[in-house]
């Protein structure tokens, strides 16, 4: 052992067998049970020792020695450069994607199903016991059982307390796990290789296109049959929809898809399919209909987000100008990309304008429009900001037509998985019932000299009304 590098290690994985002779485990893993084996990883060093090496039981322990300071210095491109999360990290202590890398490095031969000394044994299912004292698991023991259960393991999983000094804080997301089953070494290692990062739902490195290849290589035999195949692929590929689709297609050997199909188009198609209710599209359609009927030619989209309403409005021939404003710069970037602003002809480009701004501030640029739309915006404003917004829009910009949509809180009860009293989005500062919205709209209209009508958007429930509501202000 290179003691100069020995910083001490956290134990993260044990693999034990009671097959007789149990010490054959050393041949299968290509590690001598009496030695101390190390392998260099980019983030640190992996060690293998055998705490037990007897005839009836042999146990290999993998210890990872992750350099916490080095981990910070290398950074990860998808993390905010200066987020505190990078400095105080559980990575050195928890079985995560770092462990997958270590398994790949330490047990490359075993993973490929070969063994020089015991070729037959490598293909033979053995009684195995896998210990994982700290498994980060987003989804808890339930998910763990869903993932490992169908693969033939008996599972024990105990959540670790977050802090025994503060029992009210509850459990952490870590589980102490034991998996027992009769499997080949290769299968067990593959399962761990793929599923540890899936449980963690995180990767220590940037996920690129070659990850699809790794997933197919390690999961090819069993993943296609796994009931949670989609979830595994999605999480393994870090929720990158394009990569996920790609992997799923290849896994299911679905060759129907046109390889020339444009990525963006497939994204859009999927997005549309995903939203079975299609509520947002209905909202956009309702707002567009009101604006189209009004004959407005210069339209403001306040809180334009990624520009869906803008795109819909631009399709109306009589619209001369659509100006989208958002407080989030990244939203404007997304809108510019979604609308393909850079590729627009000068004439088309002249019809669109994107502004970075905020309704907290008076803004001369908002004057001179015929209509303004605020689709799902007001519920993101807290009370004093809402008043400022009213002043900015109804008092200062004063277009002849103002269209406002917001969720109908009464309908929330009909949404699956939304706990009572919870909002649809964590940033919502309020969600109004129909009566609350109606009162607000009437008060604003009265204060600023507008006429208002309120209507619902989406399928109407006899008791709860429509999922979304729309106020149309005119003067």
């Amino acid at each position: 052992m290179d003691s100069a590098r020995g910083r001490g290690e956290a134990l993260l994985l044990t693999i034990a067998t009671t097959y007789v002779p149990a010490t054959d485990l050393g041949y299968l893993l290509h590690k001598n049970p009496s030695g101390h084996h190390t392998a260099e990883l980019s983030a640190g060093i992996a060690h293998v020792i055998f705490p037990v090496a007897a005839e009836d039981r042999c146990e290999a322990a993998v210890l990872l020695d992750i350099d916490p300071v080095g981990l910070v210095r290398r950074g990860r491109p998808d993390q905010a450069q200066f987020s505190l999360a990078r400095y105080v990290s559980d990575r050195p202590y928890a079985a995560s994607s770092l462990m997958s890398v270590a398994i790949g490095r330490l047990f490359a031969t075993a993973l490929s199903g070969r063994s020089k000394e015991r070729p037959a044994l490598a293909a033979t299912p053995l009684p195995l016991e896998i210990g994982l004292p700290v498994v980060p698991c987003r989804g808890g023991a339930t998910l763990l059982r869903r993932l490992f259960g169908p693969l033939g393991y008996d599972i024990t999983a105990e959540p670790l307390a977050l802090d025994e000094h503060f029992p009210e804080w509850g459990d952490s997301q870590y589980l102490a796990v034991t998996l027992t089953g009769t499997l080949t070494i290769r299968e067990a290692l593959e399962h761990l290789y793929v599923l540890l990062p899936v449980l963690d739902d995180d990767k220590h490195y940037w996920v690129g296109g070659d990850e699809v290849g790794k997933l197919l290589r390690r999961g090819g035999q069993w993943l296609a049959e796994h009931p949670d195949r989609d979830l595994i692929a999605r999480r393994y590929l870090r929720h990158d929809r394009r990569l996920t689709t790609d992997a799923l297609r290849r896994l299911t050997a679905d060759e129907a898809a046109d390889p020339e199909r444009d990525d963006a188009a497939s994204d859009a198609a999927e997005e549309a399919a995903e939203r079975s209710v299609g509520l947002h599209d209905q909202r956009i359609a309702a707002v567009v209909a009101v604006i189209a009927a009004s004959g407005a030619s210069r339209v403001l989209d306040l809180g334009c987000g990624s520009g869906k309403l803008i795109a819909a409005l631009l399709k109306l021939g009589h619209i001369q100008q659509v100006t989208g404003m958002d407080v989030a710069q990244h939203a404007l970037g997304a809108a510019a990309a979604a609308l393909h602003l850079d590729e627009m002809s000068p004439r088309a480009r002249g019809r669109v304008e994107l502004l970075h701004g905020s309704l907290t501030y008076a803004d001369e640029r908002l004057r001179g429009f015929d209509a303004a739309a605020m689709v799902e915006v007001i519920e993101h404003l807290d009370a004093p900001k809402l008043e400022a917004f009213e002043l900015s829009v109804f008092g200062f910009a004063r277009p002849r037509l103002v269209v406002v949509t917001t969720p109908n809180a009464e309908y929330n009860a009909l949404f699956d998985g939304l706990p009572p009293g919870a909002f649809r989005h964590p940033d919502h500062r309020f969600e109004w019932t129909r009566a609350q919205f109606g009162d607000w709209a009437a008060a604003v209209a009265g204060r600023y000299g507008y006429e208002v009508t309120v209507a619902g958007i989406g399928p109407e429930d006899p008791a709860a009304g429509c999922p979304s509501q729309l106020a149309v202000f005119r003067r």
């Binding site: 134990l11 055998f50 870590y174 008076a362 001369e364």
Partner: protein, 877 residues
């Protein structure tokens, strides 16, 4: 159109158009009478766009460039001379339009030189291959246009005929009539009198003027000058007496007046124009008809000569009847006069057919104070360095004067209601404009029918007090403290806009944000990253003789605004809030998501201030406190549960298992003794990590479990306190702790004499004591707060954090020498520079707020702090 004496008098700010055919000597003339940068020549612009000064095909583009440059100069108020032939009316028209657009006067100087002379000059220049027909054509055009120059819109026209006239001419610049910068007052600016003579006499008397017994003039023994904002006449009982007095004061030099819309209309009526005799005009005409013979004529002449506005006191004070935006100050055009007399009307009408009036005062961002009248208000109130002092005397309100530069308001009540207002004085506008959120402060209770304008319609003038232009884009902020201006980059401002808009509290509460603080230079002591020695040395070498070491509480930063009651909150912050205060974080977010908790804590703070007698002692009904709010878990609970506790839990379980199995392996004879030793050490570090954050967590079931540790009283009604010595703050805050030891936590402190080895050693020992007991550490501050060393302003504080606290920041195993040796390479330079800039901005915000400056001026600095906080800096510093 003569040039007697050849002295060409031109306004100091104007657009001069030289008119003359090619070769008439325009450029030579321009060179000899104007500075090179004042002259823009079409030839030069042709060269700019076409590489050839005589390329006639570049003429169109060249003139666009010329107009653009001239526009920029005129916008900045600089005299500009156009050196082009300008012999065609069409060419001159665009120049006159440009001058009007920038509200400057137009002057034409014609150089009428015989064609033959010009031809001879051109012949001597190889680059001017003009045929004689070109010159003849130009000359014809020139001659044809001469007579109509004034009609075209030139305010002054000078024609210099022949070489002798031209050679003998001189140019003399004169200030504009409205330019009275050299008059420094002091002034007493008096609101709309409307014929209320007895109130005027009372007011002048109260201001200290001696009014002549016959009412013919009034003089102040200290040489003060009364300035009338116009509308002396109409509606009231004694218009002729008021006119006589003001005319007399003007003649004796103790009075000045600008024209109001009522004077303008009265003059037209007196001159026999057909005007509607409404709004009190009939009364004036009747009263003047009853005056001694000739007075009506004198009065008309006086009123006719009144200027639209006056610029006084080096441009720091502007008087205009209905106000004036900055771009019009000291300018002259009919638009300027119309604005000054009638206000910001656009001709636009709303759905009721009534004129829409815009709130120019809310948009006003100028440096000059603008005092105006025209729209009666119940009380004169400052809005962005502007104030309307028409308090509706003739309607039964009062007659108000503003003493300048004292900025005191003096009023006398009206003797009676002389004229019935359409809407009772002081009644709010139906539009609910009086108190909008985030400021919609506007002159409340306008009497629509008081002027010639009907009432504003709902909302026409509404807007929030802050404008996007106040914060977005690259900004340069001048502060009292920083050596140079503080620059806010556009991308940082953009980042701050999102935070400010989405998460921050009402900007009217947010009058301060605390600066970041730099840690001490990295220590090289074994096992330590930070140690007080470096901080003490830094101050010692900057020449600080005395420093204060303050205990650093480990909680969350909290700025507390507390008012005696909601009336005080409304008066000073313009916020109608039941809680009479606010508590916000270092990024301007509400500290508590639950308003009841905030209100409860504010009540406790208010009670302690009351009990300690600080309201009275500091003569204030509001205070701003900079504090640490404990425990850390109260605000950072989510962070602790998602970030710190999981690391400790994972480390504990993983290392326990590792240790156990490695012991088994070693017992079996595997050579892993080193591994065992390391694991033991690592496990100990993980335990220390857990202990480190636990120290700052305790259960909070209600407000009584919170502890507030104020360390500075930032400001109050008396002004900014933040720059007082730290000892002053700690003494007063100590008294709060005495009153309510449950809510408040004391901040322990010791004083260090820098350079005194024993004293410095005592500070180090104190730090060791604090940190050994689990304290976060201490902050070293110059005792006098602001200190300028050889390299400028020194840091207002340097933090020295304890080794166990730093474990939370740098991770469980940071203290191992192999890790420390790498972590020591940190650099605090950028953090220090930010800390100083943010400190300067924070203090500037306080100074501006304390001085009663407009919200946008305060917000600019607060926004700046937030913008600087978006700079990428290692958050562990």
């Amino acid at each position: 159109m003569t040039t007697a004496g050849h002295v060409l008098k031109i306004p100091g700010m104007c657009l001069v158009t030289l008119v003359g055919i090619s070769g008439s000597g325009k450029s030579t003339f321009a060179r000899s009478h104007f500075s090179a940068t004042e002259v823009i020549s079409s030839d030069f612009c042709r060269g700019l766009v076409g590489d050839d000064e005589n390329d006639q095909s570049a003429t169109k583009d060249a003139f666009e460039v010329l107009q653009f440059i001239a526009g920029k100069r005129l916008a900045a108020g600089r005299l500009t001379v156009i050196d082009a032939t300008s012999v065609q009316a069409e060419a001159r028209r665009s120049l006159i339009a440009l001058a009007r657009e920038h509200h400057v006067l137009s002057v034409a100087i014609v150089l009428d030189v015989p064609e033959q002379v010009c031809a001879a000059r051109n012949a001597a220049r190889p680059d001017r291959p003009f045929g004689p027909h070109v010159l003849r054509q130009q000359h014809d055009q020139l001659r044809r246009g001469l007579r109509g120059l004034r009609r075209e819109g030139f305010h002054r026209v000078y024609v210099l005929s022949g070489e002798t006239d031209i050679a003998g001419a001189s140019v003399q610049r004169e200030p504009l009539w409205n330019d009275m910068r050299s008059a420094h007052g002091p002034f007493d600016i008096i609101g709309d009198v409307h014929g209320c003579f007895s109130e005027l006499v009372l007011l002048l008397d109260q201001l200290g003027y001696q009014v002549a017994a016959d009412g013919s003039t009034a003089i102040h023994p200290d040489g003060r000058t009364a300035v009338f904002v116009g509308d002396l006449v109409d509606r009231g009982p004694q218009t002729p007496a008021v006119l006589k007095l003001v005319m007399g004061m003007t003649a004796t030099g103790s009075g000045l007046s600008v024209a109001g819309n009522h004077e303008a209309k009265l003059v037209r009526a007196l001159r026999g124009k057909d005007v509607t005799r409404s709004h009190g005009l009939a009364e004036s005409l009747a009263q003047l008809a009853a005056s001694p013979d000739g007075f009506g004529g004198q009065a008309a002449e006086f009123m006719d000569k009144l200027l639209g506005h006056l610029v006084l006191d080096e441009g720091r004070l502007v008087i205009a009847h209905a106000g004036l935006p900055e771009a019009m100050h000291g300018r002259a055009s009919s638009a300027v006069r119309a604005f000054a007399l009638y206000g910001d009307t656009t001709g636009e009408t709303d759905e009721y057919g009534l004129p829409v009036r815009y709130p120019w005062a809310q948009d006003y961002r100028g440096t000059a104070v603008v005092v105006y009248g025209h729209t009666p208000v119940p009380e004169a109130t400052w809005v962005n360095r502007t104030i309307c002092i028409d308090t509706g005397c003739v309607f039964g309100g009062k007659l108000t004067a503003l003493r300048y530069p004292e900025r005191e308001l003096v009023s006398v009540p009206a003797g009676q209601v002389y004229y019935q207002p359409a809407r009772p004085l002081g009644e709010a506008d139906p539009a609910g404009r009086s108190a909008g959120p985030a400021g919609g402060v506007s002159p409340a209770g306008e009497l629509g029918s008081a002027g010639e304008l009907p009432p504003d319609r709902p909302g026409a003038a509404s807007r929030t007090e802050l404008s996007i232009g106040d914060v977005l884009g690259k900004r340069i902020i001048h502060t009292r403290l920083a050596g140079g201006p503080v620059t806010i980059r556009a991308e940082n401002a953009a980042a701050a806009l999102e935070v400010m808009s989405r998460f921050a509290i009402d900007p009217r509460w947010l009058v301060y944000l605390p600066p970041t603080m730099s840690p001490t230079t990295t220590s090289s002591e074994p096992g330590l990253l930070e140690h007080p020695a470096e901080a003490l040395a830094a101050y010692r070498s900057a020449g600080v003789t005395e420093a204060v070491c303050e205990e650093k509480h480990m909680g969350s930063r909290a700025v507390v605004v507390v008012c005696t009651d909601s009336a005080a909150a409304q008066r000073r912050f313009g916020v109608a809030a039941a809680s009479a205060g606010a508590i916000f974080t270092r990024t301007g977010r509400p500290f508590f998501s639950d308003p009841a908790t905030e209100a409860d804590l504010l009540r406790r703070v208010g009670r302690a201030i009351e009990a300690a007698g600080l309201w009275a002692e500091l003569q204030t009904d509001w205070l701003l406190l900079d504090c640490e709010l404990l425990p850390w878990s109260a605000k950072a609970g989510e962070l602790i549960r998602s970030q710190y506790a999981p690391v400790a839990a994972a480390a504990g379980a993983a290392l326990r298992a590792a240790l156990q199995l490695t012991e088994t392996a070693v017992a079996r004879g595997v050579d892993a003794a080193d591994l065992l030793g390391c694991l033991t050490e690592r496990r100990a570090q993980a335990a220390l990590f857990a202990a480190a954050y636990r120290r700052y967590c305790w259960r909070v079931s209600d407000v009584s479990d919170l502890r507030l540790a104020p360390f500075q009283i930032l400001a109050g009604e008396q002004g900014v306190h933040a720059l007082r010595p730290h000892s002053w703050h700690l003494e007063l805050i100590g008294r709060l702790c005495d009153r309510d030891a449950r809510t408040f936590r004391r901040t322990a402190a010791i004083t260090v004499r820098l350079g005194d080895a024993a004293s410095e050693a005592a500070a180090v020992a104190w730090w060791q004591l604090l940190t050994a007991a689990g304290g976060e550490g201490m902050v070293v501050k110059p005792a006098q707060v602001v200190h300028r060393g050889p390299r400028g302003l020194v840091q207002p504080g340097i933090k020295c954090r304890g080794p166990e606290y730093l474990r939370i920041i740098y991770g469980p195993e940071y203290s191992a020498e192999r890790n420390l040796s790498r972590l020591r390479s940190r650099s605090v330079g950028h953090k220090r520079s930010l800390a100083l800039r943010e400190f300067a901005l924070g203090m500037e915000a306080l100074e501006r707020f304390a001085a009663g400056e407009p919200l946008y001026r305060v917000h600019e600095c607060v926004f700046g702090v937030l913008a600087l906080e978006s700079e990428p800096v290692d958050p562990r510093l």
